[in-house]
Symmetry: C2
Subunit: 406 residues, 2 copies
């Protein structure tokens, strides 16, 4: 007899996972980073120093820093945000999280209940959309361009909602190196966003997890930095700037909000070794590392742009990203990227279909996200050529003259 777990499951669970089969040869999803620019040696030296000096503090949960996280790391985060994002934050108001994803979970857990409404950018991080769906929360997408949320559209949306008696719980935005568009909300729009939020008594959740990877133009102050009302909750991450497999992010909120989120963090502290090593590594090395990394990422973005142009010509439309690790591509209407992702995935080319990265799946039908940070330029070129072959075969896009072999 074998026990039947299926009869005991909670209803409405997500579909079951499949066994993991390894990374595909052309892996253009997942937010991985450039292995050549992973500062492994410097992290190794940092681990060596910090474990020699205070390794035995691992004997207590949360080291000797309490539930907000390793104190030297919170100090570094405070300094980094002052220098790079114009923010003034007391280290005592910074919560170290197990990746910025835990920050999303804490904010959602404290503020959202089924039936609530959240405003998101119309193209946005898929993991946020999945989280909101699982919580039974409605999301409404506001139009964006490469300069961020379109403020007139937001005003119209807020008026329309007010007319229906709907008060959104918050506006979730990724203003700096937007996921997936790679755009950056201008300072003027950030100020307008704060005004609109003020007029409508709304909270803002600013997800700045890619912000350190900007390589084009000046980084505007964080929305948090421009906020005079204390209505912004802010999260960030070291996953994108140092190493995705290190699970270290941070969440910043006024204590009134933080004190209600903190009891939902029932994990007995975020991983201490990762916090210690980062805190030891970062003060000397973070800023110069990020500078080098951005150069490498820009080169990969350029290689991706060149490969897309070579393979797809004008049938792949996109704005070159201003930073980050991904590119948001629009194909002609004929192309259904959900099907393309399925077919290409079976042939070793993994892409994010647009429908999973937009508030209204219909608007993402012919779009895709390409993550370019991890593959080499050669793999990028080869994979995009393969994707173009498959796309041509299945959807007739890009067009090709019949007698030209590729």
């Amino acid at each position: 007899m074998t026990f039947d777990f299926a009869t005991r499951l909670r209803p409405n669970l997500p579909p079951g996972a499949a066994r993991w089969g390894g990374f595909p040869p052309f892996n253009f999803i997942g937010g991985h980073n450039d292995a050549e620019n992973l500062p492994a040696e410097a992290l190794r030296a940092a681990a060596d120093r910090v474990l020699a000096r205070e390794g035995t503090t691992l004997a207590t949960y949360q080291l000797e820093s309490g539930p907000m996280g390793y104190r030297p790391l919170r100090h570094f985060i405070s300094e980094k945000l002052a220098r790079r994002a114009g923010m003034t934050v007391d280290p005592e108001d910074i919560l170290v999280t197990t990746g910025s994803l835990q920050g999303l979970d804490l904010v959602n857990g404290a503020f959202l209940e089924p039936g609530d409404t959240v405003i998101v950018e119309e193209a946005t991080y898929g993991g946020t959309l999945t989280r909101l769906q699982r919580l039974g929360v409605n999301h409404v997408g506001v139009p964006v361009d490469q300069d961020g949320i379109i403020m007139d559209a937001l005003a119209d949306m807020l008026n329309e909602m007010a007319g229906r008696g709907v008060k959104p719980k918050f506006i979730y935005t990724v203003p700096t190196v937007q996921n997936p568009t790679g755009g950056v909300m201008t300072e003027a729009r950030r100020r307008t966003l704060l005004e609109r939020a003020g007029q409508n008594d709304l909270m803002i959740f600013e997800d700045d997890c890619y912000a350190d990877l900007l390589w084009e133009g000046q980084r505007p102050p964080a929305i948090h930095a421009l906020d005079t009302d204390g209505r912004v909750i802010y999260c960030g991450s070291f996953s994108k700037s140092i190493a995705p497999a290190l699970r270290v992010g941070y969440l910043i909120a006024p204590w009134e909000a933080m004190s209600r989120m903190l009891p939902l963090k029932t994990d007995a502290g975020s991983g201490a070794l990762e916090q210690m090593v980062l805190a030891e590594y970062a003060p000397d090395a973070f800023h110069s590392h990020v500078e080098t990394l951005c150069v490498a990422l820009k080169a990969k973005a350029d290689a991706t742009v060149a490969a897309l142009e070579e393979q797809f010509g004008t049938t792949a439309e996109f704005d070159p990203p201003r930073g980050g690790i991904f590119l948001w591509v629009t194909f002609p209407e004929a192309v259904d990227t959900t099907r393309l992702a399925e077919i290409a995935g079976a042939e070793g080319v993994a892409i994010n279909p647009g429908a999973e990265w937009v508030a209204d799946p219909a608007t993402g039908r012919n779009k895709m996200r390409i993550c370019f940070a991890n593959p080499s330029p050669e793999v990028l070129r080869e994979g995009i050529a393969k994707l173009a072959d498959i796309c041509h075969r299945e959807f007739g896009v890009p067009e090709r003259s019949a007698n030209v072999a590729r």
Copy 2:
């Protein structure tokens, strides 16, 4: 104007957190471990080796091992469980979790909904009780002694529940170094438990997170090892055996169950550096480390027992633990440990009041849990003397002749 977060909170949140004020001087709570036996140097050497060899794999989420966790660590866990717990587990069926607490969350998330009932040991881990309460799940406590769940009581309880048409979702048990009693369920009772579960078509959730710290008697095979029906989900941890601040645990279940829990693990992988360092450290050092640690913990348990006997005499009743890091103490009825914990806490002596560690708070009113692993024997003695003074002052227990100054 300051934005008012309080008006946006979800209803029924736990009370707000207070700012952390540092560890109390006599810290007898929290599951911390012995700093002198923290293998900091060996972890440092392991970090050095593994980062030199494969540090750049941190550039991909989940390294190159997929969502179940770092493969070499899963291999070690499989070998360790075979050697120490008599279990046969394929590394492909082991999920590395961010502490065993994440294992609890995944099991609860996949199987429990509000109104469900779970059977727990009548004295059990407070964090499990809090989790069940927050989920709106009923828990019913079955009596235990130092040999584990009392099987006749379980049979009666199951009959009584069946009569009411209640089918518990699972039985949650900490069979090896039970928290908080320090007892060990005998092999005979483990077999009976499996029989009863079979007769009643029940799933068992075995939490073995203290099991490596047994110092007295033979460790019985895990319930999982004796199970022929595949009805046991098993979790464990390195927090207790290596370092609490490292957040590395593991969850084991048949793929039918695991495949439904895995999609609830939306953290983009558990911390990779901690997994890598542990996997590098453990094969050579784990078993001998645990042996040394147990000797040290037994000495601290002995010091605690001696201090309790000296200070409280017969008014503190307890069974000397067979392993682990805590002692479960019963005082005379006059002592209300919730009040004692509050008063002693204000004077720098932190204890776990029994009411938070039992299924029915009334039964824990005069009980307390003492964690002895972290304080030095001197601090243990001094803190317990202070606790006895406070307890005498507030409750007249222990009795003291009026003219003897302590």
